[in-house]
Amino acid sequence: MSLALAVGRGLGRAASGQVDALREVPQVRVVLDGWVTEVRRAPGVEVRGVASLSTRNRQPARLDFANEYLALITAGELQASAPDVLCVVDAGWLPIPVDEIRPGQQVRVLVVDAVEDLRSAHVEFGAFGLTGRGYVEVGS
């Protein structure tokens, strides 16, 4: 709850022009700044949609989602994935739910690290719907 309050205060200040305020919330990292170029949805399967993005320096990126955002791949490299919390915010730093992401939106992708238990073997969440790949810690 206190993390939610800290994140909300940081984003609120960022929305009012103090983008540096987010540095005071070390749990949040901005990992992409760009636009949504295409969204494809496939209801009825585990990973239900893919958003294509373009970064500000024109690198292609892809965001997989189900009921939540699951994985961000930038220029072919896995940049972030569940169980870490991926969030997409709009130009006003407001969260965009998976059912409202659409082409043309200016977006930032934020990542909040998951608690350690979600990474550990005794929690049998499998691959969070990311079939065939499993959970790979970013950077490993």
Binding site: E68, Y69, L86, C87, P97, V115, L118
Partner: protein
Amino acid sequence: MSATAVTLEDVPALALGCGVLGSGGGGATDGPALVLAHQLAKGGRVDLLPASTVVPEARVACVGVYGSGTLLVETLPGPAAFRAALGGLEERHGSLDALLPIEVGGANGVLAAMVAAAVDRPLVDADPMGRAFSRLNDTVLAARLPMREIFFASATGATAHLQADRGDQLERVVQSLLPSVGGWGAIVAFPGRAEDVICMPCVGP
């Protein structure tokens, strides 16, 4: 460390932060924020307790809403359904000393604060779910403490006490209730002593 009050001025930040931690799911937070603001404006208070300050023998349980985020917008979740679910639990297990949100990400973080204000109980600063999930048995807490019962109440006044040997069975049963009660219900789960329910890996930053 002592309790921190969540005030009316904190509601927009809490709603925004819970929205971020919802990871694109977990239900919209703006409707629940209106209900929380209403509770605080009429004198309710939310005392946020650091998990480390909760005495081990304190009686706690997790509160939240289960069901469709879309339908949650159509019928705003007021405190009545949560009071009914809590009443069922307390009748069976005794009075609770504090509440936990069943999940912080999305609508549930804001709603847990609303319930705490409505029933005048402190709220533990913890996230038993770890991140927004679609299933109750997929929580950090469920990996440590079996989920065997749920106290359920709908906005339409229906209540149920559900029990099962396994969390996934319980998850399917509670899911089966939703079409007949308007798509969502208030739930209270994981009743127990603080030392069992508040697992340290789920206590946030």
